[in-house]
């Protein structure tokens, strides 16, 4: 967890408020019209029933009366998603995108694993395999997509401070950090490179770090220039990372795939209050990403996913405990949105998973595979490499054709 460094560099205040988000990139070759893909890891288990609330299900309130917001149209109420579901009122930007047909929530999504441990489940979600691997599915996808061409500015321009398991693996992926204003001169760096040249860990890391710095220095200058002039509200860390991600992805020779993380979802207590902030941060980040991508938004898909959902029943402390199915959110210029996807499993006692959780009806891997095939144009046979183990059938119709 490396964000706090960015705190200092971007001039933000308390470090801990930033520690919950981070960003990493993978680069792939091609032209400016390449499809772009952003994955947002919501670490800590988002309560899908609060983000996208099935207010039309009469059983919902019997489990969690105090956690359900007023229906659409009422003060502080949900934002309507077509009569059965409502979006959390903190997600205004996403609701606007839904209205534009560019946001597709999918309900009752779960991973292929059955673990209620954050750590285990996140590892499975990111590695995308039936057993825990040391590489992630997005990295394996990138290693296939990038083909044989090398980029003139090198794969080392990848950015991001910490590389999540999702992006670790054979394809070269870097991490991004804005360079500090003061650092050693080139000559000293060269001596340091020489000292580390034969070391398998520090040698390549320093080499790539310096290459990336040349690239990010230039891009960061543009990014800072594009920040809104309003200094009274300094953007939060996730928003800043989203702006940076958008700028990097929009660059003709920049990366094509990025992963961001945002935490704060593990709402065991006072969930109503505690969910507002992370949801609002997520929403502001999406607005910033869209803006900084500019025209490239038209070629972008964003997938926001979490390791599992939370119990349907409210627990004893106004929160919810670790559960199973939840919501996943797709958004972007090519998303076939404006509706809620997935199959609603129902909330009758017999319909709950293990009598406590929302039952899964859509496999998270199928969603990801659908985007990889139809948007990034990953060849269908490669799906078995990206998601080894039990066969994954890519979900259809997630993106508009073209």
């Amino acid at each position: 967890m490396l964000i706090p460094r960015r705190t200092a560099l971007l001039g933000l205040a308390a470090s801990w408020t930033l520690g919950r988000s981070s960003l990493a990139f993978a680069s792939a070759p091609g032209g400016p019209d390449d499809p772009r893909f952003v994955v947002i890891l919501l670490r800590g288990a988002l309560d899908g029933l609060s983000a996208v609330t099935p207010y039309g299900d009469a059983d919902l309130k019997t489990y969690r009366r105090d956690l359900v917001l007023p229906e659409p149209g009422q003060a502080g109420g949900l934002l309507d998603l077509g009569g059965f579901y409502g979006l959390h009122p903190s997600l205004r930007t996403l609701h606007g995108l839904y209205g534009d047909g560019q946001m597709l929530p999918v309900h009752a999504v779960a991973g292929h694993y059955h673990s209620r441990s954050h750590f285990e489940a996140q590892d499975y979600m990111e590695s995308g395999a039936d057993n825990r691997l040391s590489s992630g599915w997005l990295n394996r996808a990138v290693s296939i997509l990038q083909g044989k061409t090398d980029r003139p500015d090198g794969y080392g321009l990848a950015m991001g401070l910490t590389v999540p398991l999702l992006l670790r693996g054979p394809a070269r992926v870097g991490s991004y950090a804005p360079a500090g204003s003061q650092h050693p001169d080139t000559d000293l760096y060269n001596q340091i490179l020489a000292l580390n040249a034969s070391d398998p860990l520090t040698g390549p890391a320093l080499r790539r770090g310096l290459q990336a710095r040349d690239f990010t220095d230039a891009t960061m200058t543009r990014m800072t220039a594009s920040l809104p002039p309003d200094k009274t509200h300094k953007p939060d860390a996730f928003t800043q990372l989203s702006i940076a991600a958008g700028n990097m992805l929009a660059t003709p020779h920049g990366p094509r795939v990025a992963a961001l993380e945002i935490g704060g979802w593990d709402t065991h207590t006072t969930q109503i209050k505690r969910l507002e902030n992370p949801l609002a941060q997520l929403d502001r980040g999406m607005a910033a990403l869209r803006q900084s991508l500019g025209n490239t938004w038209k070629r972008t898909v964003v997938l926001a996913m979490t390791e599992f959902g939370r119990t349907v029943r409210m627990n004893g402390t106004g929160g919810t405990d670790h559960g199973t199915a939840t919501v996943a959110i797709l958004t972007g210029g090519t998303v076939a949105g404006g509706k809620v996807g997935g199959t609603w499993p129902g909330l009758r006692p017999g319909q709950l998973f293990e009598n406590r959780d929302l039952a899964p009806t859509t496999d998270l891997r199928a969603l990801a595979a659908g985007v990889l095939c139809d948007h990034l144009r990953l060849p269908a046979p490669a799906i078995a490499t990206v998601f080894p183990g039990a066969r994954t059938d890519p979900a259809k119709g997630l993106v508009t054709s073209g």
């Binding site: 967890m1 490396l2 964000i3 706090p4 460094r5 705190t7 200092a8 470090s15 801990w16 520690g19 919950r20 673990s115 209620r116 441990s117 954050h118 750590f119 285990e120 080392g156 950015m159 991001g160 401070l161 910490t162 590389v163 870097g174 991490s175 991004y176 950090a177 360079a179 500090g180 003061q182 650092h183 050693p184 000293l188 760096y189 001596q191 340091i192 020489a194 000292l195 580390n196 070391d199 860990l201 520090t202 040698g203 890391a205 320093l206 080499r207 770090g209 310096l210 990336a212 935490g263 065991h268 207590t269 627990n315 004893g316 402390t317 106004g318 929160g319 405990d321 670790h322 293990e354």
Partner: protein, 435 residues
């Protein structure tokens, strides 16, 4: 000369010439048989922290005016000790166990008690018995607040029936998964729920003259409960028995032995190494002094490349090598050594007592050696080195690394154009990134 490599691996980076006139084995053993030399007498208890929190809340004071000085004094005293300790093995064990039983500033208003947690629940037990540490942790206000147990209520208890409030599984789950058995033991969701019920009522009395742990009978779920096939009685005693059961379980010993070997010896513990430590825990009823000494048996200076330093390891080792610290840090002086060290942790991505999740900070190389990490270390070391105005970089290098110092690095230091450059080269060498 095995001393430097052992002192670096099991401690916090060599500060002075290695100890003389004593065997390595005795040097380790003495640190765990002699009392903890850290002097924290001027710091208050967790009750004092909770009183400050209570007053702040009562009078609705903004900006943490009562808690902040308590926290700053903890940072100053505990990091000062880290910089100068002559018991570096004991000190690393303290921070290892703190991380095993992570409490973080990220949630639960733990700021007024997190420093006291280290001193009250962790430090006294690093040379004691594991299950005693477990009990001290689980009853400490910091843990009860961090993992939400203060509000967990038995649904069939008087409070539960009146308020319609119920269980919060957080502490129970993380205790089974992270602190004791680990998922390898094969416990089920029913065990988690049941253990949460066992722990209902374990909370805080904030109104008492000395606020702290209390067992709230009225919130406790009535009846006996089953955990891992065993039955535990109703009441506070049920929780104590369950913790003794978990704290002495074979799976727990295996799990903590794995964690210890992983932290001190290698990123990839072998079954033989783990069972060497686990068997000592099993035979001794969880004696951590004996287990820690068994760990030192596994030290082999020839073992490939040692452990990669985390940001906390790295910054501490740099500042110890530069002989920073000595005079007590002023709690509110950001330029004092302790606060400079804390700023170093934060700028390299591992802010003090702020682990993202209850599993604590990772200690594997892959987590800390990304390109951005390495550049940030170099840049930070360069800035620190600017403050070293009197030391001979070659002396610093020989003391810090001993025989691990490579001729290539020695040559680069020798030919550097300035003291700052020479020290930056030392601290950016691959051998300094390891312990």
């Amino acid at each position: 000369m095995q001393f430097v490599s052992a002192v670096n691996r099991f401690g916090w980076g060599q500060r002075d010439d290695p100890p003389s006139g004593i065997s390595l084995h005795d040097w380790f053993a003495r640190q765990l048989t002699e009392p903890d030399a850290a002097a924290f007498g001027h710091l208050g208890s967790s009750a004092d922290g909770l009183i400050a929190l209570r007053e702040q809340r009562k009078t609705k004071q903004q900006g943490d005016p009562l808690v902040k000085p308590i926290f700053q004094a903890e940072v100053a005293a505990q990091l000062d000790n880290l910089l100068v300790t002559a018991q570096p093995f004991r000190e690393r064990l303290c921070w290892f166990w703190f991380n095993h039983f992570t409490v973080s500033l990220r949630q639960g208003s733990t700021r007024p008690v997190i420093g006291a947690y280290m001193r009250e629940a962790i430090r006294p037990h690093v040379d004691g018995v594991f299950s005693d540490m477990l009990v001290a942790v689980m009853r400490h206000p910091a843990m009860l607040m961090y993992l939400d147990n203060t509000g967990s209520i038995g649904p069939a208890s008087p409070t539960g029936r009146k308020s319609h409030h119920g269980l919060n599984e957080n502490l129970a789950r993380e205790c089974l998964e992270l602190h004791t058995l680990s998922p390898a033991a094969g416990y089920t969701q029913a065990d988690v729920t049941s253990f949460a019920a066992i722990l209902t009522g374990w909370g805080l009395d904030m109104k008492a003259e000395q606020p702290g742990f209390t067992f709230r009978e009225k919130a406790h779920e009535p009846g006996a409960k089953k955990l891992m096939g065993r039955t535990f009685p109703e009441g506070e005693e049920g929780g104590m028995q369950a913790l003794r059961f978990l704290g002495t379980h074979r799976a727990t010993y295996h799990h903590i032995a794995t964690q210890m070997v992983g932290h001190f010896i290698t990123d990839t513990p072998t079954p033989q190494d783990v069972s060497h430590v686990a068997s000592v825990l099993q035979a001794s009823g969880g004696n951590l002094r004996l287990a820690s000494l068994a760990l030192t048996d596994l030290h082999d200076p020839a073992r490939a490349s040692g452990k990669f330093r985390s940001p906390m390891d790295y910054t501490t080792a740099v500042m110890r090598a530069l002989s920073s610290g000595g005079a007590p840090s002023l709690p509110d002086d950001p330029h004092s050594p302790a606060h400079q060290l804390a700023a170093g942790f934060a700028s390299l991505g591992q802010p003090l007592w702020t682990a993202p999740l209850p599993n604590g900070w990772g200690d594997r190389a892959a987590e800390w050696c990304t390109p951005a990490d390495m550049l940030a270390r170099t840049d930070w070391a360069w800035k620190r080195a600017a403050h070293a105005t009197t030391m001979d970089p070659m002396d610093v290098a020989r003391i810090a690394l001993g025989p691990a110092l490579r001729p290539q690095t020695e040559h680069a230091i020798h030919n550097a154009g300035s003291r700052q450059d020479a020290l930056t080269l030392l601290f950016s060498s691959p051998e300094f990134q390891r312990r």
